[in-house]
């Protein structure tokens, strides 16, 4: 068995052990409620969103449905992977794994891919079902490019949260610290980032809450690049016609790559030096 085959089979085992775990069975109803449920709600032909907005296309409806990803799927990604390393470390199993003839870089790839794909597969299925629901409700179907950008964006935001959780898990000596870090990061980017944006706006002399003020929009757009949720929405916005927050699609995709590469590098480096 060569290295690639070994890596592939370890990844598949990681995926199946998490995909069919009790944790996943508990999270799945929540995900169904959050993703296809939101798609059903936002695709109501009579819906009127705050600000008098009525989503008119499938891409727009799925943009609003992405709230289900931000609030539900990312939290599930954290809950699925917060003990990816710390559990094995606390039980002593990590020592056995580290003593196997498999490069540590490959072990870290297997951990990332295993946890990521375990949450990504059900989310992508639910995301696809959501598109079908929108098609059924409003009769619109997005272009292939919209579809591709949408699925890739979802995959990336889940990857980022999985990586944050695994990094925390690899540094934590016990699982309490690990989950506190994972949930803390999720809380910061999901709820507290608006506060950070407001504070920076205040410090910069930008009028707060003036949603149509170009300065506010530009500042919010730039600050969102420092948040995974913000980058996720920037990615989705690249496919919306009437949204301009001062950040070009190329910048958004470059930042998305940076958000993927840096944490992955951090985690791989950590796994190379980790001790049981």
């Amino acid at each position: 068995m060569n290295d690639f085959e070994k890596l592939r089979s370890v990844i598949l085992r990681q995926i199946s052990s998490r995909l069919f775990s009790v944790r996943m069975a508990i999270m799945l109803p929540i995900l169904i409620l959050f993703i296809p449920g939101m798609a059903w709600g936002f695709s109501d032909p009579d819906i009127m969103l705050p600000g008098g907005i009525t989503p008119s296309s499938a891409t727009e409806v799925m943009f609003y449905t992405s709230l289900g990803i931000v609030f539900g799927a990312t939290m599930c990604a954290v809950l699925l992977s917060f003990d990816g390393v710390s559990r094995d470390r606390a039980s002593g199993v990590l020592e056995i794994k580290l003593s196997q003839p498999m490069a540590r870089s490959h072990q870290s790839i297997a951990l990332v891919m295993g946890h990521w794909l375990a949450i990504l597969i059900p989310i992508w299925i639910l995301w696809g079902i959501s598109f079908l629901i929108v098609k059924y409700r409003i009769g619109d179907w997005p272009s292939f490019a919209d579809l591709l950008a949408s699925f890739i964006s979802v995959a990336l935001i889940l990857l980022w949260y999985v990586l944050f959780s695994l990094i925390a898990s690899s540094h934590a000596r016990e699982q309490g610290t690990s989950i506190a870090f994972g949930v803390g990061v999720w809380f910061l980017f999901t709820f507290l980032w608006a506060l950070v944006t407001t504070m920076v706006a205040f410090a910069s002399g930008v009028s707060i809450g003036e949603e149509n003020d170009p300065k506010w929009i530009d500042l919010e757009g730039v600050l969102d690049l420092f948040s995974p949720n913000g980058v996720f929405h920037h990615l989705l916005e690249t496919r919306l016609d009437d949204v301009d927050r001062g950040v070009s699609p190329i910048t958004t995709w470059i930042v998305a790559i940076i958000w993927s590469v840096l944490p992955w590098y951090w985690f791989t480096s950590r796994m190379k030096t980790i001790q049981p």
Binding site: K6, R13, E95, I96, S99, Q100, P101, Q107
Partner: protein, 342 residues
């Protein structure tokens, strides 16, 4: 003497410990570890690794398992097909070594077989799982969830993971923990079978009394240093623990000072209402005759068994009578030369 398969030459590894200061809150410095270890692992032999708590046994095992990279020195390996020794990397070491760590708390709802397969995939030998489960006596429990395993069963599973991929060297850290006496006997038999196949085994254990009849050689380690390595006989000789006779008798204790010649020495005496006991290191063939001629009433005459604890005390300078929990106290240890790390 068996051929050497693995050799550690001046191997050293020190753990990094936190050393915070105002200027460097994330500072680290070198802490405990192992220092300039020279150790040879021989084919088909069992080496017992013995030392007090904190001596560095587990660190040494982890170095041999390829988990901790050595910071100084080198590790040389020679397979049966290789003529010369060559330096071996951590990764290569992991493919020839099977490691059973101390106290793995297997947990979860995953089955025993599935767990073993997960580890086997990392070694690329998942097809051999059933045979190994049978070897360690877990074949009937292969579908049992890990949460339902007893401590002994968990130990067997840990052993099974170490046996995956037919390792040339087997590292067993406290393998007898939680095993019942029958399982221990079966375990010992299995170890001997493995050595007959040419597998070299290193056992680190606090259960020193039980190791005497298992090990071929012994390595005494203390404060990160290898104090001595050799056969039990070699170590007995080194620390003058050989040729010891335990004599018990009734009545008045004989006057040993007048009876013993230069080739015998009195190590210990005890008297009680029932009689007396003396331990003598003896190389005088006529000692028994002399004692009888001096009208000593001897009830028991036997050679004193090898005692690894005594060896350890002799090697580390600890006094058996004063031994306490503070075994790593620096007050009781005569250091070997440590060289630059001192």
């Amino acid at each position: 003497m068996s051929e050497v398969v693995l050799e550690m030459k001046d191997a050293a590894f020190r753990h990094l410990i936190s050393s915070r200061s105002l200027t460097n809150p994330f500072g680290k410095k070198q802490g405990s570890g192992i220092f300039s270890i020279n150790l040879k692992i021989r084919k088909g032999q069992i080496l017992g690794l013995v030392g007090p708590n904190g001596a560095g046994k587990t660190t040494l095992m982890r170095i041999l398992a390829g988990i901790f990279p050595i910071q100084k020195g080198k590790i040389m390996y020679r397979d049966s097909e290789m003529k010369e020794f060559s330096a071996i990397s951590d990764f290569e070491l992991r493919s020839v070594v099977g490691h059973m760590p101390e106290q793995v708390r297997w947990q979860g709802k995953v089955s025993v077989k599935r767990t073993l397969e997960d580890i086997a995939e990392m070694r690329g030998v998942s097809y051999r799982v059933d045979g190994i489960l049978m070897m360690v006596g877990l074949s009937e429990m292969k579908d049992t969830p890990l949460d339902q395993l007893s401590q002994g069963m968990r130990q067997r599973l840990s052993l099974a993971t170490a046996l995956l991929g037919s390792p040339k060297i087997l590292l067993l850290d406290e393998p007898f923990n939680g095993l019942d006496p029958v399982a221990i006997r079966a375990f010992e038999k299995l170890l001997h079978k493995l050595t007959e196949k040419g597998v070299s085994i290193i056992i680190s254990s606090h259960r020193v009394a039980g190791m005497v009849h298992i090990v071929d050689r012994l390595a005494l380690i203390h404060r990160g240093q290898l104090l001595i390595e050799g056969t039990l006989k070699d170590i007995e000789n080194e620390y003058e623990l050989d040729n010891r006779i335990e004599i018990q008798g009734s009545g008045k204790i004989p006057e040993f000072e007048s009876i013993l010649t230069d080739s015998a020495s009195l190590l210990d005496t005890q008297t009680s209402e029932d009689g007396w006991l003396a331990v003598i290191r003896n190389q005088d063939r006529n000692l028994l005759k002399k004692l009888i001629e001096s009208n000593a009433e001897i009830t028991t005459w036997k050679s004193k068994d090898t005692d690894i604890v005594e060896m350890l005390c002799a090697a580390t300078g600890q006094n058996l009578d004063e031994i306490g929990f503070g075994v790593i106290s620096s007050t009781m240890i005569p250091y070997k030369s440590r060289g630059e790390e001192e």
